[in-house]
Symmetry: D2
Subunit: 342 residues, 4 copies
Amino acid sequence: MIKVGIVGGTGYTGVELLRLLAVHPNVELKAITSRGDAGLPVAEMFPNLRGRVDLAFEDPAKANLAACDVVFFATPNGIAMQQAPELLAKGVKVIDLAADYRIKDIPTWEQWYGMTHASPDWVGKAVYGLPEINRDAVKKAQLIANPGCYPTAVQLGLLPLIEAGVIDVNSLIADTKSGVSGAGRKAEIPTLFAEASDNFKAYGVPGHRHLPEIRQGLSLAANKDVGLTFVPHLTPLIRGIHATLYARITKEADFQKLFEERYKGETFVDVLPAGKHPETRSVRASNVCRIAVHRPQGGDTLVILSVIDNLVKGAAGQAVQNMNLLFGLDETAGLNIVPVLP
Amino acid sequence: MIKVGIVGGTGYTGVELLRLLAVHPNVELKAITSRGDAGLPVAEMFPNLRGRVDLAFEDPAKANLAACDVVFFATPNGIAMQQAPELLAKGVKVIDLAADYRIKDIPTWEQWYGMTHASPDWVGKAVYGLPEINRDAVKKAQLIANPGCYPTAVQLGLLPLIEAGVIDVNSLIADTKSGVSGAGRKAEIPTLFAEASDNFKAYGVPGHRHLPEIRQGLSLAANKDVGLTFVPHLTPLIRGIHATLYARITKEADFQKLFEERYKGETFVDVLPAGKHPETRSVRASNVCRIAVHRPQGGDTLVILSVIDNLVKGAAGQAVQNMNLLFGLDETAGLNIVPVLP
Amino acid sequence: MIKVGIVGGTGYTGVELLRLLAVHPNVELKAITSRGDAGLPVAEMFPNLRGRVDLAFEDPAKANLAACDVVFFATPNGIAMQQAPELLAKGVKVIDLAADYRIKDIPTWEQWYGMTHASPDWVGKAVYGLPEINRDAVKKAQLIANPGCYPTAVQLGLLPLIEAGVIDVNSLIADTKSGVSGAGRKAEIPTLFAEASDNFKAYGVPGHRHLPEIRQGLSLAANKDVGLTFVPHLTPLIRGIHATLYARITKEADFQKLFEERYKGETFVDVLPAGKHPETRSVRASNVCRIAVHRPQGGDTLVILSVIDNLVKGAAGQAVQNMNLLFGLDETAGLNIVPVLP
Amino acid sequence: MIKVGIVGGTGYTGVELLRLLAVHPNVELKAITSRGDAGLPVAEMFPNLRGRVDLAFEDPAKANLAACDVVFFATPNGIAMQQAPELLAKGVKVIDLAADYRIKDIPTWEQWYGMTHASPDWVGKAVYGLPEINRDAVKKAQLIANPGCYPTAVQLGLLPLIEAGVIDVNSLIADTKSGVSGAGRKAEIPTLFAEASDNFKAYGVPGHRHLPEIRQGLSLAANKDVGLTFVPHLTPLIRGIHATLYARITKEADFQKLFEERYKGETFVDVLPAGKHPETRSVRASNVCRIAVHRPQGGDTLVILSVIDNLVKGAAGQAVQNMNLLFGLDETAGLNIVPVLP
């Protein structure tokens, strides 16, 4: 059994990790920390965990995380970069669900996140945990930078085209829509039910922190800086991301087949038959990304539709997938979930 | 492996059975029928099942259901009473998720359901599949009448009090609220998103078909006819039933303890600590019923709050629980699901 | 033109007052205050008011409220009781949308609201602003205690029966359901979209502040203390209250006719034909209360269904109705709104 | 008073017309027809109209529509083209809310709508009723082709740029999101609450009927055929369209100012200050279109955000605006509605 610790378990990625790990066949939950709620039984905050998780939140200063095999950071940005190095030094593996180790270029990270990086040396050693791109590196890593939700949906949708060199990488467009849980479990007015329900809006159009992360991933595949317009929207779902991706074709190909071959054998990426439209609910509560490839009216613009559950493939599920790889388990262990529909 | 057939798999109880059975460790899905959609791959109608269920819907006239160990009827009322007897005669076990075999009194059934019963002799042999009440009988049954959604939530909430003889059974009130999936996957205007979203209403106040079913169960426990006012409401949830139950105290007792003892050892009934309020989402996608016991201002009225997922404990999950009992499996096999929250 | 001021305009009752008053033919908006947002144009916080309200929030200490003919307090409980007396002394009329002046018995108020009342002498002079009960007193009042949302829906549903002396007032039950805007525009986790959407729960079952207010109104009509069990629930609507009311019949009557006669001539109370069920959306954004009367299976229990928009008839609309009465205007001025459906 | 008739009043554009016209100061509702529901009082189908609309649906064969000054067709596509000519011949003005007269090129219309046009001669005489573009022509028209919902939002967002000649019209992208009422009041499974709630999907990516309508309008302004990729999505709102529009800059300009000047004096188009994001709820139930102009990171791509209420500015409200122009009324008569927020 893998001994697991979670730092910062009171947010949505925390409770989602607990939902998955509570029934993971190879995991023993050892500790979960929260500065503000130390002492509170986890199941009192999250009643879905009654009878499934007996732990109480522990004070981070007192929890014996060093005794764990792996520690997940489900914390706000800026925490893991301070606390992970001590654990890493003791040989503990770390999976950071925040953004601290995702961006390789430190000045870029510092500019977008507005802080000085506390452990820049670890950034270079961190492996970007998108297994469908980086599986071998993930297996050997000690520190995993778990990708953001939008970056997962957008990269899985665009990378096959970029790798194949069939689109113009200077004029990519990612029009993305997220459920409200993507904003986290924070007491804020704009995400109140009475504000976000029956409402739709774009936000962060001038610049969103996931832009440099996506650009880094796509540029790596393109071997050059890509041009990307990234527009996120808030939509009244609890869970789910829908990315609508636009790319100009530069080289003819069988695009449907290109995707099918690229993701053949990938358990968690499902390329829909031609002509279909994926729905966010078709992946609800599961680790699957579903993708459809369209070329409207046979024109020169490809439209790729990519959906994930932002809390699973976009966060906690992908983290568990990475953990499975890190420990040589079946990649699907604990993730054999049929999406919940309706 | 238990060979399983499903009759009428295109509704919400059908797809929910498939979600549960697709990962049930002891089940082999053999056939699923639909008159209208024969030939269509199941996963084309329900994309959450892509890669999980390879069957196509079969014409009910052609499917070899007699080769199954158990057949679930996820059909509209009035189908099982016609088709189940032939299977039963061949020794197949049958679990009917519709109402055909729930009401013991044939005239009462015929009055509320507006049809002549086609196999009244089987009504007497059918076992009402509420395991927390009827576990031993379920184990030995050949034909299970799987309870309705409202009846499950209401009976689990009231029976401990009635069995203990501590309330007035002449003036019971069940104010119940259901998510919209309870109305089924039928093309009808009142359950359109633009009608049912951001809206709340009562319906069926003059009389709802679940009333005689609930009254039968409660009267059996009370050893006399009970008086019950039953008011259902439609609330903008996909899944979930919340029953708010009112009963006048006739005999003092430690009501909290009474419930805790009654359900001690029941995996799927969770009595909350005193003072708590259960939320429908705390059971979402799981087979659990959560119950809270209140006595406002120490008065003479008890308020019992009981929540279930109408598609799981209120339909498909309870059916799987009954199947597990029928075949001597662990009662929780295939039902080890952590509720999905948020 | 009536010169109007609003104290505390940043909540949902504030923006709703502005929506109504911005197009009221007899009103000139003079000032709107907010301690935290002084200087901010109102339309920047509430974009629906762009081009309709040109005011900015003013510091309450600086706003010239004494120059207004009437001041609405759309503040948290405990503010009006401190600030209204100074305005009242200067002859300004005051309509308090909070609870400060609703409960005549000071110790009861202090117990439920957890504060010492700052102007108990004004409590006796305040008129409870439910025009359908108190129209004449409202017309002559200087200080109006605008009723709570639940109390409006429950009292309009039960008072005709109590006034007629046809029900047992010792065992009344009010099972009420509210949209999330009823919780106010406050940054709190339980009312986040990801918490309150697709979820249903009871709350405050041990005791809710609207209980003494309802009890006071009903007891006044009954000429004795009534017994009431009051259970509020949170339902995923933005706006709307649905009260389901249960009463035991003590005297036969034509209950449908009783309601129709009681509310004949009332513009804002609509008694539905027998057998109908009111929907919250049928009153959305309007000042109407719709009521239906049921007697299931001809038994001894009446079920009254009463719906309002909690922000209109349950708050701002009723306040405007009271203002119209206070100033001798047509009671419907500014309230001639067709409910928004779908 | 203008005598008004409505053909086909049982859909969402029908009830929305009634909501607006019931309080329009210059309108007398004379007749509303429905083949299927003749005889039914309108307010029985739409309870929000109780006390506001006393008409019953009439059999279209019997209604005296020729006695009206103007007749609105709120019918499915293909009805107005058959029934309007007879009324037009009698001098009645007609506003068609369906698509029958929107597309000038008959073969294009017949290809996208799959029928033979029944009155192609009237197509040329029809005026496309987008007042912000076509005001003078509208005033003199007898037959108005009221624009589609998506076409309204997209054209108002792109036309200023095209008219100014500052963008590449060969590579326009319109990523649009609609609330579910846009699908109409039809009993269909995909728009059930349990299907469309908590779900997001694209649809019609291979081709949607609003594409040729938008292309026609943009091409007219560009004086050449434009290239447009149009991707509609279904989002869980009742009302609202959000269009996210992407255009490549070909000529530098002060884009914010360009929009402000283009729409100066337009009551129903509101250009937000730079940096803002419009929300669909900020126009809920009103005839306003709100637009924001963004140029992310100062790159060469403009992002225009345009929101409307699909049932008002996208259908019934625009139809009333056109009626006001047709009859020389104040353009805002009956449309002085403050959006409903929250």
